[in-house]
């Protein structure tokens, strides 16, 4: 059974989540990929404010296709998270509370989630037409010059996610593969 959640989150809402939990996410999330992350950390390094206040917010590593006329969103889905690892500790320290991407993280990024009480969610990669139906609005809020990589505010409804790293540091990749190999792999082949 999937848990329904609303973003932005209270810290308590995240404490209750466990790696492997299925989530239906509603509320507001902000897109940012490689180029926007570089700019965020550049600004933070100089002690400047970010163009949008992301403290307490959720970042979605995503660059959607353009929104066709008459639709609320183009196709949208996660990009590979590990490329954002160099920026993740700094952004979580700054106050970003959750991120959405795909793929496992390096050890420094993993630790940063636990250290900051943040959660790493994963969306299924390559299900972008389906995910578009969960996006109710898309609005560019910063770095318009980056095109698909600009920062966009999305309103989402029941977006299916999996908790990949919880606030205690459990990891759904490690646990899921171990569980499959232990309990399911033997009775085939």
């Amino acid at each position: 059974m999937a848990v329904s959640l609303l973003s932005p989150f209270t810290p308590q809402a995240l404490w209750a989540l466990r790696a492997g939990d299925q989530v239906l996410l509603s509320g507001v999330v902000y897109t940012a990929r490689d180029a926007a992350h570089a700019r965020f950390c550049d600004a933070l390094g100089k002690g400047e404010p970010l163009p949008v206040d992301l403290r307490g917010q959720t970042i979605f590593y995503a660059g959607p296709t353009p929104t066709p006329p008459g639709r609320s969103s183009g196709s949208i889905g996660p990009t590979t998270s590990v490329r954002m690892d160099p920026y993740t500790p700094q952004l979580l320290r700054y106050g970003v509370r959750a991120v959405i991407g795909k793929g496992d993280r390096g050890s420094a990024a993993r630790d940063a989630f636990t250290a900051n009480g943040a959660v790493y969610f994963v969306a299924i990669g390559g299900c972008a037409a389906y995910m578009a139906s969960c996006v109710k609005s898309v609005e560019v809020v910063a770095y318009d010059d980056l095109g698909t990589e600009s920062v966009k505010r999305l309103t989402v409804e029941n977006m299916p996610l999996i908790v990949a790293i919880d606030t205690l540091g459990h990891n759904a990749y490690v646990d899921g593969q171990a569980r499959y190999l232990r309990d399911f792999a033997t009775d085939i082949r």
């Binding site: 296709t65 390559g126 569980r179 792999a185």
Partner: protein, 283 residues
């Protein structure tokens, strides 16, 4: 004297534009069939659910129509040009790029290409395409558009092995590539493996092996066995759909081999994801 057949650069551009949109919105039936079969065979319930959602997404994309994946890729184009084709108007390369511009703009596809690896300004229309041209017999022009997403492309690898490394060396390299890729290339993966040739040729062989979406067994029983063995070994790793565990780590392994040097055993793996797209038309 053989007569030349004229094809205008506009016809080529129109065709490429159509193919870009079709490739991004409609998954080839052969890939969809592999996905459905994998879903039905998957013993691990969470993995089966993931595969079911992936299958559903393919249908949603085709019905809307809209892109299957938001990464509508860098546009790889194969042009097989008959020697008796006379292209008028612009050059083949310009015609293909004009088609990419049109397809990606009018088709609401994502523009994911930057002009320079370091200065990284977006070209705004997904050009330039990566164009591979081959001259063939006859007076037809076959165009194949393969948009390639970089979640999987980034997980590709190449090695210049030596003859002593042999079959075991090649197998170990392929399996290591899958292990290193893990959850990143949106498993279930599809692998194109090039073996032989030179440094640049082996990469192209791997790309072709992935892009051709060959149905049926490899014509050479030796490589047929190797493909099946590699697929079986990959699907014993337990990575599973999206990396959360399961039987279905890869949907297919396709090999293309070519003559090589007495001193060499080049091998390349072009990593593909479950959105391995292509669309093709002959003018």
């Amino acid at each position: 004297m053989e007569t030349l057949r004229t094809i205008t650069s506009d016809e080529i551009a129109e065709c490429v534009a159509r193919l870009c949109v079709r490739a991004c919105n409609e998954l080839p039936a052969a890939v969809y069939a592999l996905l459905c079969a994998a879903r039905d065979a998957e013993p691990y319930p969470p993995a089966r659910e993931t595969l079911a959602l992936i299958c559903e997404n393919v249908c949603t994309a085709a019905a809307q129509p809209m892109p299957i994946c938001q990464d509508t890729g860098m546009t790889v184009v194969f042009a097989e040009v008959g020697q008796n084709v006379h292209i008028t108007g612009d050059t083949l390369e310009n015609a293909v790029n004009a088609g990419v511009t049109r397809g990606y703009t009018e088709g609401y596809l994502r523009k994911s290409v930057v002009a320079d690896p370091f200065r990284r300004s977006n070209t705004g229309d997904n050009t330039p395409a990566v164009l591979h041209v081959r001259l063939t017999a006859g007076d037809r022009l076959k165009l194949t558009v393969c948009p390639k997403g970089f979640g999987s492309e980034n997980m590709s690898r190449l090695a210049m092995l030596t003859p002593a490394d042999g079959l075991e060396g090649v197998k170990a390299f392929v399996l290591e590539t899958v292990r290193l890729a893990g959850a990143n290339p949106c498993p279930p993966m599809m692998l194109g493996v090039g073996i032989g040739g030179t440094f640049e040729q082996v990469a192209l062989l791997a790309k072709e092996a992935l892009a051709e979406l060959r149905e049926g067994p490899h014509p050479d029983p030796f490589y047929d066995r190797l493909e099946k063995e590699l697929l079986a070994q990959i699907n014993r790793m337990g990575i599973g759909p999206q990396g959360f565990g399961g039987l279905t780590t890869a949907l297919s392994v396709r090999i293309k081999a070519a003559p090589t040097h007495i001193a060499g055993l080049p091998v390349a793996v072009n990593m593909g994801c479950h959105v391995t797209r292509r669309a093709s038309e002959t003018l």
